[in-house]
Every structure is written in structure tokens, then in C-alpha cells.
Symmetry: C2
Subunit: 269 residues, 2 copies
């Protein structure tokens, strides 16, 4: 029996209110950019390897990232995942976004990178991999000198990004390598918390004036990226989802503050 | 070539100062209790399944916990992990402790539960599994009614706990099922943060008077459990690791406050 290709549920189960009037389309990050942003900003990853007999084995690792987005891990053969990689190089790495307080984990970002692990190809790549590992996980500077530890680079074969409910896509390894992390990735979680804690009125004005929900009675920001803000709004018609765009995309890590100030000014004009 | 059974490193690489004088042994949680505590207090897990051809595939899930500690997941065959479980029930679940600010992820707790997924055995188990899933992940109340979602229970075959550097053990499925989560598990992270932020003097007094490091110049708490506190101390002999025990083990979720007050009083007696 083939698997379904859509949720098997009554259509009204997932229905949400539509915006009223014309609302400009706001660009979104590509799935490749989403994936690169998650990997660039993560601290820990889930590593899946194969134990004896091909049983899938999950473990926690710290990781570094090469210039092309490939993750690097440093693992010991004292640990099962280290022995597993020696026996079979097939592996995957999952990185999840840090959750905001109260956030539904299923409505947050995560990405799976699947492929094969290999040792660095040459001294140049070994130096890059070692440097990436040590800069993300300072303990690697000590453990990297131990004889039971091996540095592995993931050759990516498949990339699957999930951004939350109804936001997901696959990415080719080439598109993943060519994309760049969003420059505002490191500051987005703080910006969202700050907007929700201290600027609820500005968010509601954006919802009413710019997102197409003049009937909104409350609005919270669920995500921020270089192009704009995602909003979750309460309306008499039910909980609504929308998006408001910045005048120009952010190009600097600290760009969200000025962009949201401009957005607030426009919502109140 | 057999894998090494100890770190391949000069002995001094991992040497730390010894306590001075007699220090009473402080009980520790069993590995089974550590594992049950991590699973009871986690919010998300890494799920490892097998994709076509047996490639290990990692994904993020929310999960519930049965009375015996078995994790439950609710996944859709629209998602790769859901299709994977239909094709091959072998799986593992990794749960990691929430990191304290600045904590080294490799010195924090995580546990891998490996086994086979199966659908609930009967209506009674289905009700328990569904209730466990919904109480941990409210969205499951909606998605559980969709035809593309399946509720899976993990029949645990192997348990591997890692608590941090040099703290790790395997647990039999029987010992895991028989153990109980530490009652102070839900409040331990807050207690550790609060002790470090507001009671550095008390921690230093404990280090000097009770942990065997009269030469300590600073102390931070790295972990709290029903039996006591783990301390990381600065001494002229280097960074030291120790443990101080409560007068009586905590039996209630809110027991850490009174236990640490008593510990402080004893350190200053």
C-alpha cells in the first residue's frame, strides 16, 4: 500500500484565516539557506551511525563546520559511535534550532544531513577540519591529540530541512554547499524574544497594517530572518499566520534592530 | 586491530588534584536512575531509523514516556522517519539534558535507548501511549487523529548513559524499567543556576570544609541530584572535581532548597 502524500485528515483540521486585501509577497530564505543557517548556529548535533548488525545508533556530538557547510566530528573509538564509523561510514547528522521558551518543538527548525564520513583528504583539509572543530568545541584541542580520537568529515549525499508545520523541503548537496548562512542567524532568537517581551504593540500594528489582518487582536513574532518577520495572530476568525517584510534585506549580523524599527514606523504611518 | 579500551594519551593529560584528608563517600544515582531521569525530563529526542538500503537517518521528535520508561513517538508516513519505521522497526532514541549557559555539551548528560518500535499491544497500552504523547506534546492531540500518523512504542533492548567526561555506563533494559526518575530532576537545572549566581560563597565553603579541598579559591556547582552536589573547584594545584552529600537524600521535587541550606550550615559549622 503506497504511503499517503498529504495529511489524511478533514480539510478544516488545518484551515487558518486568510489575509484581507492585497498583501505584498515577502521573500523567504531558500531551503538551502535555512539548512546552512541551522548548521552554522547549532552547538550540538545528533549523530546516527550503524551498530553491529546495522542497528541505527543515535548519540550526541559537538561539531565543527567547514567553509562548504560540511560538518566535522571528533569521536573516540572508546565510544560506540566511534567504533561504528570505523565499521561503516554511513551516517547522518541532525541539528535543531534552540527552542524559545514555550515554543512547540515541532514548529521549530531542524535539518538532517546524511552521507558518508571520511577522514580529511589531506593536510590542508585536516587543518581546516581541526580548526573548525576546536573553534566550536574547545575541549577538542585536548582530545584531538589523543590516539583513540578520529576526525571525520561528512560527505553530504542528502539534505532534508524541516522548518516547522508545513515548512519543509529537500536540498541537493550542491545547493547546500553553494548557499550561505543567514547573517542574522546568531541574533534572531534574541530579537524574537525581545520583540515579544517588549514590543507587543508594534507587532500588533504590523499585523494590522502590513500582514493583512486588520482584525488582529494580538500578535507574536515566531521567527525572524534577513527578509522579515513571521507573525502568529489572534483574530475573531481564529489563529492566523502571516509575514511582514523588511524594506531591504539585512546584510549584517546586527541588522535586525534597524530593520524592525523601520517596519514599525511603516506600520504606524 | 582491536580498539583501545582506555584513552590513548599521556597519563598527565587527564590528571586532576586529589582531595586532602578523609572525605566521606557520597552516594550517586545509578546509571539506570540517570537514564530514567534524563528521559523523564527531556522535551525533544533524536530518533535514528533506517532509510532505504539501511542508511542511518536522524530526525527530531517529541516523545511521551510510559510508566516503565519506554518512549512513545507519533510520526507521519509523510515524513521519512515514519516511512522508515514501517519498513524496519529498528530504532534508537537519544535524549540530552538541557544545557546550562556556558556548559560544555560533552560534560552534560545524554542517553541512548535502542530497540525496536512496535504499535501498542492493545487498547489499554494504546490509551497509555496516547495519553503520554499528548501530555508531553499537546499538538499530538490533533495529529493523533490523522490517518497518516502512527503511534509507536520502543521496546528497549539496550541503554547507554553518558553523564559527562568519565561518567558513563550501560544499563540492562530490566534495570532501566525498574528504576525511577530522580524526584529533583525537574528542578535541578534551576537550582544549579541559582547556586552559582547567588551563593558562590556557600559553594566555596562547602568545597573547603566538606569536599576535601581546603585550598579551593573558587567553586561552582556543575550538577545537583537527590544525594548531593557536584563541584568544580579552582585550587593552586589545578582544577579539581568533588562532591558533597546531603544529610538525607531528597524525596520530594522541591527538596533541593532545604538540602542545600543544611549543607551550607554544616560547611560553616
Amino acid at each position: 500500500m503506497p504511503f499517503p502524500t498529504e495529511h489524511v485528515a478533514p480539510p478544516e483540521a488545518l484551515a487558518t484565516p486568510e489575509p484581507i486585501g492585497d498583501v505584498p509577497a515577502v521573500p523567504t530564505r531558500s531551503a538551502a539557506e535555512e539548512a546552512r543557517t541551522l548548521v552554522a548556529n547549532g552547538e550540538v548535533a545528533g549523530l546516527s551511525t550503524l551498530s553491529d548488525g546495522g542497528h541505527p545508533w543515535g548519540s550526541l556530538v559537538t561539531y565543527g563546520v567547514l567553509e562548504n557547510g560540511a560538518p566535522v566530528v571528533l569521536v573516540s573509538t572508546l565510544a560506540e559511535h566511534g567504533r561504528n564509523l570505523v565499521g561503516d561510514p554511513r551516517a547522518s547528522i541532525v541539528v535543531a534550532a534552540t527552542l524559545l521558551p514555550g515554543q512547540d518543538p515541532l514548529d521549530s527548525g531542524r535539518v538532517t544531513l546524511a552521507g558518508r564520513m571520511r577522514e580529511p583528504a589531506d593536510g590542508v583539509e585536516h587543518a581546516e577540519a581541526s580548526g573548525a572543530m576546536t573553534s566550536s568545541s574547545p575541549a577538542a584541542a585536548l582530545y584531538g591529540t589523543f590516539g583513540d580520537f578520529t576526525l571525520w568529515v561528512l560527505d553530504i549525499e542528502r539534505v532534508r530541512w524541516v522548518g516547522g508545520y508545513g515548512r519543509m523541503d529537500s536540498v541537493t548537496p550542491e545547493a547546500y554547499a553553494a548557499a550561505a548562512p543567514d547573517p542574522v542567524g546568531p541574533s534572531a532568537a534574541y530579537a524574537v524574544s525581545h520583540l515579544n517581551a517588549d514590543h507587543a504593540g508594534a507587532l500588533l500594528d504590523m499585523a494590522r497594517a502590513l500582514a493583512g489582518f486588520p482584525d488582529a487582536t494580538a500578535a507574536v513574532c515566531s521567527r525572524a530572518d534577513r527578509f522579515g518577520l513571521d507573525l502568529v495572530m489572534q483574530t475573531p476568525r481564529g489563529t492566523a499566520y502571516g509575514r511582514v517584510g523588511f524594506a531591504t534585506p539585512c546584510t549584517e549580523p546586527d541588522g535586525l534592530r534597524a530593520a524592525t524599527v523601520e517596519l514599525t514606523r511603516r506600520a504606524r504611518a
